[in-house]
Amino acid sequence: MRPKRVTFRHRWLPYALIAPQIVITIVFFLWPASQAIYQSVLRQDAFGLRTEFVGMANFGRLFSDPLYLESFWTTIAFSALVASLSMGIALILAVMADRVIRTATAYRTLLIWPYAVAPAVAGVLWWFLFNPTIGIAAYAMDALGYDWNHYVKGSDAMALIVIASAWRQVSYNFLFFLAGLQAIPRSLTEAAAIDSAGPLRRFWTIQLPLLSPTVFFLIVVNVVYAFFETFGVVHATTSGGPGQATNILVYKVWRDAFEGLNLGSSAAQSVILMVIVIALTAIQFRYIERRVEY
């Protein structure tokens, strides 16, 4: 393939064209990120009246804190659960929606709807449904013989934030899966059908392998979502409890900064999260983008 080459008449024009993007990146990413790195080596009181350089002490304390390391595992388990649950459900829905011919738009609109709901609102919604005293879901489970109480049982609390976080993400995943499925040429599935392959067989041997780039892409997106964007859900439902059961990394960053006013430690945690997101993005570019043919 011959590389595309575009020439500009003026030397400054290309710079002027990318300038807005550069400015946005500096203001909304580079500057805050550098502030986080700067804060992470300081110890400061809340009002910023006394500042002391402490080197890597904030990081050292985090990694010697068993609760912080536990929070890592909690976050990994949470992300895996959110990604698999939301992708699994989205895939089933997409496969079914792909077959629907009549009123397909109506189905699609309804399925995409939850994505427009803000995480905090979604959190409160599920909080009401699962409230052990007044929640209808908790009531239904009680009728089935399960005593739901996410205030005491860590596993119940984890289930609650996984459901609340995954629910919203199902819509997003559904869109990508549906687009992926519709991009698969009909001739392939029809040929398989003529060779007497049932719907399940066609899905496993034809549709799913051809969807794999979408699957990999969505894994990264969902893990990033679970890592960084689920603060609102946790804040509105469990506040990280009971005990440490749902204290995920991003919630701890917020709590240490805004409740604890401990900017140094919170900044150090942000830097660690930043390293994680850079690593995830690198993996995506290196291994996943390459497989996708444009």
Binding site: R43, Q44, D45, A46, F47, G48, L49, R50, E52, N131, P132, T133, I134, N149, Y151, V152, K153, G154, S239, G240, G241, P242, G243, Q244, R255, D256, F258, E259, G260, L261, N262
Partner: protein
């Protein structure tokens, strides 16, 4: 031309009308009172604004307590701070340590040209916010204390005629309720505040060393050293087996357990009065917190929660005169009595309490004076005048986490308290290092 003249005339008229407003000094007040309480704050401010011509108090709602405090701190760092900010009681140590950012109320009032006496405030309220030398740091505004809410109907059905006054009577009432087929006897909210801080003050035992932190930053938490507290918490945790106690979450999340009639008694802030009257479809009342006869014969006094108004540095002297005048207005018996009766918070001055008595408020709303009675039961001791620990918002989170592991049966009460104290002490040392 006519149009031009009309415009000029209008502009001049507008300028003239606006002139008095320009002469007025604006006093910014950032608060955390949402809903009906927020409207009440607006009402108080406009009452003050109408009363005099020199100052205009501008109240702004900035979110919950944490958000309001964080907003004020961020504003201070940017040099845009308000004159007055409402800060909850556990933020006291943080505000106090911020020398150079905070102007003590005592200094504001002493320097201003007004008559003011710090003796008019209820001692149990005031003592929380004064230095060991007796200087007032911030102005008490909305204070409450935990009380025991009970469901009269459920207790009557079980034949419990006397509202339990001791923990033994609580468990006896639980047996009577269960004999009558009702599982949950009690629950509580804000567990660190109600079951640890107030339990210890109520029984005149220390929460931390050095007068609960009032005497210095080197304070250490010692709530794990109270054997009777450890035993009681273990007894409560064990009682979950037959449903006597049910845990309903942090803060006020357990309110539905009481208002739905699932638990017969609920220990939490007296400021839930409005919420409970609105939701409960049964006869309810409030009584004093139960006493543990193993620990003390008579209760000492309970301690407060709620918030106070802090004055921030960085404004011109004339504006502090306005702050002082507003504070004086706020503390007047009429304003205070009205605020107390509308909100369920305790009256912060003795005069406001007496005025409410004269007005017959407690006779027409029985039980609403439980909180103020609890607070003024005795002269506060070093154990019961309050607490002043740095990073205490986080320490309360730690206490929540450790107690939740107790309720879930993952650890014993002794382990929970020891672990909470050890983790809390690390945060106290951090605070000491950052503020030394």
């Amino acid at each position: 031309m006519t149009l031009y003249r009309t415009t000029t005339a209008t502009a001049v008229a507008a300028l003239m009308a606006a002139a008095p407003a320009f002469a007025q000094t604006e006093i910014q007040l950032w608060h955390a009172m949402g809903g009906a309480l927020g409207e009440k704050v607006e009402e108080i401010a406009s009452g003050f604004n109408e009363m005099q011509d020199d100052y205009t108090v501008v109240p702004t709602y900035k979110g919950d307590y944490t958000e309001n405090m964080t907003a004020a701190i961020a504003a201070f760092r940017a040099g845009e701070q308000p004159h007055i900010v409402q800060v909850f009681e556990v933020g006291t140590a943080t505000m106090m340590a911020a020398e150079g950012a905070v102007r003590p109320v005592q200094a504001v009032m002493d320097n201003a040209d007004i008559e003011w006496d710090s003796e008019v405030y209820v001692p149990a309220v005031k003592s929380y916010y004064t230095t060991p030398d007796g200087d007032m740091l911030s102005l008490p505004f909305n204070s409450s204390t935990p009380v025991m809410w009970y469901n009269r109907d459920l207790l009557d059905e079980a034949g419990v005629t006397e509202v339990p006054q001791t923990w033994d009577e609580m468990f006896a009432a639980a047996e009577a309720l269960q004999a009558n087929g009702h599982d949950c006897a009690f629950s509580f909210g804000w567990q660190s505040w109600v079951m640890i801080e107030n339990y210890l003050a109520w029984h005149d035992q220390p929460i931390g060393t050095m007068e609960n932190g009032f005497a210095g930053l080197e304070t250490e938490l010692v709530f794990d050293e109270s054997d009777d507290l450890t035993e009681l918490l273990q007894r409560i945790a064990d009682s979950q087996e037959n449903g006597t106690f049910q845990y309903g979450g942090r803060r006020g999340d357990s309110l539905p357990l009481f208002t739905s009639g699932e638990c017969a008694m609920w220990m939490n802030s007296s400021a839930y009065y409005a919420g409970i009257s609105e939701q409960a479809e049964f006869e309810f009342g409030q009584a004093m917190l139960p006493i543990n006869t193993e620990a003390a014969e008579e209760p000492q006094n309970s301690i407060i929660g709620g918030a106070t108004l802090w004055v921030l540095e960085g404004h011109v002297d004339e504006e502090y005169q306005g702050v002082a005048e507003f504070f004086n207005y706020l503390s007047s018996p009429e304003v205070q009595a009205d605020w107390h009766q509308a909100s369920g918070y305790v009256p912060i001055t003795t005069a406001a309490y007496e005025l409410s008595q004269e007005q017959g408020f407690y006779e027409s709303n029985p039980g609403t004076d439980t909180a103020i009675k609890q607070l003024s039961l005795n002269e506060p001791t070093p154990n019961s005048k309050g607490l002043r620990f740095g990073n205490y918002v986080q320490v309360r989170d730690i206490i929540n986490e450790e107690l939740e592991d107790l309720w879930a049966g993952n650890q014993t009460a002794a382990e929970a308290l020891a672990e909470a104290a050890a983790r809390g002490n690390m945060l106290l040392r951090d605070f000491e290092d950052a503020n030394d």
